[in-house]
Structure formats: C-alpha cells, structure tokens
Amino acid sequence: MRPLILAKYHFASLWNWRTSYLGRFIEPVAYLLFLASALGSHLQEVAGGYGRFVLTGLVCLLSFRSATSSMSDVSNDRKWGVFAIYCMTGGGVLGYLVSVVLFAAAVFLGQLVLLVSCGLLVFGEAASSIDHVLRTAGIGLLLVAGWTGIGAAVGASVQSYSTRDLLVTVTALPVILAAPLFYPIDDSSGFVRHIAAVNPLTYQVDWLRDSSASAITYSVLWAAGSLLLAFFMLRGAERVSAER
C-alpha cells in the first residue's frame, strides 16, 4: 500500500509543478514535429517506412529520458527527506523503488499516447497500428523500468544538484544522437559508429523494432539487472543527502 501512497504524492508533485514538468511531454513531440519531420523527407527508403522507424526511436528516447527524470526525482527525494520519511515510517527500499517505477511507467504511457497521436497526424496511419503500439508499449515499459533503475541508482549516489545536472548534460545528447533513433547510423563516420557500438540505445531500439522473443528476454534482463542495481545503491545510500 505504501508504494501506491507515495506514487500518489509523486503525481501530486507533478501536478503542482506542472509547468516545470511540461518539458517531459513537449520534448518528444518537438523532436517529432521538427527533427523527424525534416529528416523524413530524406529517409523515405528506410525499411518499414520512416514514420514507424522514428516513432519507435522516439519511444526508445522516452525510455532513456526516464533515467534522467528518475535521477532528478530520487536526488530530490533524498535532499528533501521524502526517501527518509518513507523508510522511517515503515516503508522499505523496495517499496520506494516500486513507487518511482510506477510513476515513471505512468508518465511514459501518457507520453506514448501523446506521441503516437502526433505521429499519426504527421506520418499518417502507416506510422503505427494498434498491434505495433501495444508491442512497443510492452517492451518500452520494460526499458523504462530499467532506465528508471539506472537513474535511481545514480540519484542514490549523487550528493548535489550541480553533479546531477553535469551528468545529464554530458550524457544525454551523445547517447541520443549516437544511436539509430532518428536515422540509420550504419553509414555514419567512424567515431559515431564507435559510440553507437557501446551505446545501449543502439540495441534497445532494435529490441523495440524487433519485438521477437529474444528481444523480450533481453528487455526483461535489462529491467531486472538495473532495478537490482538501484535496490542495492538505495539500500546503501544515506537517507538524506548531505546537500542542504
């Protein structure tokens, strides 16, 4: 019950500070309306159609963004004492983690509905189908759980806002742009291909486009491994971070 109660307050926080959180919904739509629309006219030959290609890429982007969001949320919870209150009032680390994942999953589903709606408007019915959306949402939720775990693990060890912001700035764009989310990167120049080879999004977007049994297995392993890491990092973390 406590994870649901805490998740309720995560949503209250989202609503109270909705102008700050609006970016989480605007960003993927902006990528779709501007970057993807512009690239689409040059990449019509992509297998399966560019609309479906980029929509799946954007779902992968959303899942990755849940890491930066949960890193921010968990470091706030540690700084503001919400994590401490949760643990001191009878809750455990696992329950706290469940509340964070529930919140991230619900936000992801909201983003997905918005994104697919906009995708259909921009690229037409060929961009998606109900079957495609359901398969993408299923694997996407596993990826979100995994990235939320990574974000929570980092948030459990970060002691300051400035460190957190630096981490987001340094990692976000290279990870997003050096993966085949918006364009195929097989023909890219040397260093991008090298980054792509070690970039988790390169593989995860393939799992989303593939949706085979092995893709589901990899996604489950990704979610389980990341959440396990988050659990141990949160369990070892100070309940209130040192930063005032």
């Binding site: 109660i5 109270n16 401490a84 001191m88 009032t89 309940r239």
Partner: protein, 239 residues
C-alpha cells in the same frame, strides 16, 4: 511499565571525525513523559534524535521500540519537506505513510492539526511559498498529525513566533495528559521547564544528567526556572 523506546549504549562516530558525536548513551522514554534534551550546539542532541527516529544507524549500541512506527512522529532540526507539495500534502504524506489504513480519514486529521498550529489558511500553499515559521509549523504538523504516541521533535520551536511556541507547548501538555510522550530539544529553555517532566543534558556527546525537571532545576543556584541556567551550573560544577 515497558518503555516506549529504549536506547542502549548508543555511540555514533561520523566518518573522518576522531571524536564520537554521541558516546555510550543509554536512555528510556516511558508513557506520559515529556523530556527536554538540553546541550550546547554540537553536544550530540540532533545525533540522538536522528538515531532514535531511525534516520541514521548507530556505530554501536541499539534502539528498541515498544511502539509501531505509525505511533512515532518525527520532526528533524533540518528542513525536511517536499517543496513541490502543499502544506496539506506534506502533512498527509507523513500521516498516510505512517499509517496507510488512516488515509481515508487523513483529510480530517490534517485539518485538525492545521487548526492546532494555526495553519488553516496555508493548507493549499506549496511549501516553497512559506515563510520560515510557517514551514516549521508544517513540519511539526507532519510529525503530530494523527496524534502519535511518541513524538521526537528536534528544535520544533525554532523560527516560531510566541503564539506558535505557545500552541506547540499547549498541544504537548494536552497530549501528555492523554499518556503520550515526547522528546524535545528547544532553545525556549525558560518557558519549556513548566511543560516537561524530565531533563536529559548532553555535553561533547556524553550524557551529563538525566533527572526529573525539579531536580534538574535545583542544580542551579540561585533557584531558577530556566533549564539553561541549570545546565550551565551542571557544566561548571563538572569542570
């Protein structure tokens, strides 16, 4: 009577510090006791509160509780508040997490607490818009909402105006009459002497005295009603 909370030989050593913040402290809190915790800055009071409240773990020793976590209200010295939530949400967050079964009645409990602390008109403001005193009252509200059996309040009156301080002390008097207990540190050492039943004094992480309030005040010459005068006498007598 079984103590509500028992601390046995508590020692806390922070990394990088040679001297322990708290050393070999044993303490019991029974039903109906309101205990004043006095000491200089850095004497170990907040460390004791953090250990008793469960925020941090002792390096040695143990804390055992005879009450469930839902019966403990905790208000730390530092600002522990979700800045994105309203006062109502901050108070009900603490209340509902302490006692998930009480969530249906939490709205009424929050409004009663707000009335006690004069927070009615601030309930729907987010914490970020509050003044220091209002923020302090919101944190006290989170600790006392639902009337817990044991309250651990670290400097709850800091930043409060005289009316706010009186509200807190009167609330504690009422709760003590109902058998609740509290452990409190406060700079209001003169006024609080008539509201507490027992005093524990700390210096350099060590327990210097643990006495009924009358016996503690009698340590001072001439006679005083200020716990701090008695504490100063205790310190000078011990040197």
């Amino acid at each position: 009577m079984t103590p509500l909370i028992t601390a046995s030989k508590l020692t806390k050593i922070y990394p990088g510090k040679s001297a322990p913040a708290l050393e070999d402290v044993s303490l019991e809190v029974s039903a109906g006791e309101v205990i004043a915790v006095v000491g200089h800055n850095g004497a170990g009071k907040s460390t004791l509160f953090d250990l008793l409240g469960g925020l941090s773990r002792p390096s040695r020793g143990s804390v055992s509780l005879a009450v469930e976590s839902k019966e403990i209200g905790w208000c730390p010295q530092r600002e522990i508040v979700d800045w994105s939530l309203t006062v109502r949400q901050n108070i009900s967050l603490g209340l509902e997490l302490r006692n998930p079964r009480a969530r249906r009645s939490s709205r009424a409990a929050v409004e009663r607490t707000a009335q006690t602390l004069g927070l009615e008109s601030h309930l729907d403001r987010t914490a970020e818009t509050l003044s220091g005193g209002e923020l302090r009252r919101a944190q006290i509200g989170r600790a006392i909402a639902g009337n817990p059996t044991l309250m651990i309040l670290d400097e709850p009156t800091t930043g409060l105006d005289p009316t706010g301080i009186r509200s807190v002390f009167e609330y504690l008097d009422g709760r003590r009459a109902e058998g609740a207990s509290a452990l409190i540190s406060t700079h209001e050492t003169s006024r609080f002497s008539s509201h507490c039943t027992r005093v524990v004094a700390f210096g350099e992480g060590k327990l210097l005295a643990d006495l009924p309030v009358a016996a503690f005040l009698a340590l001072a010459t001439p006679t005083t009603d200020d716990l701090w005068d008695a504490y100063t006498s205790l310190r000078s007598g011990g040197q």
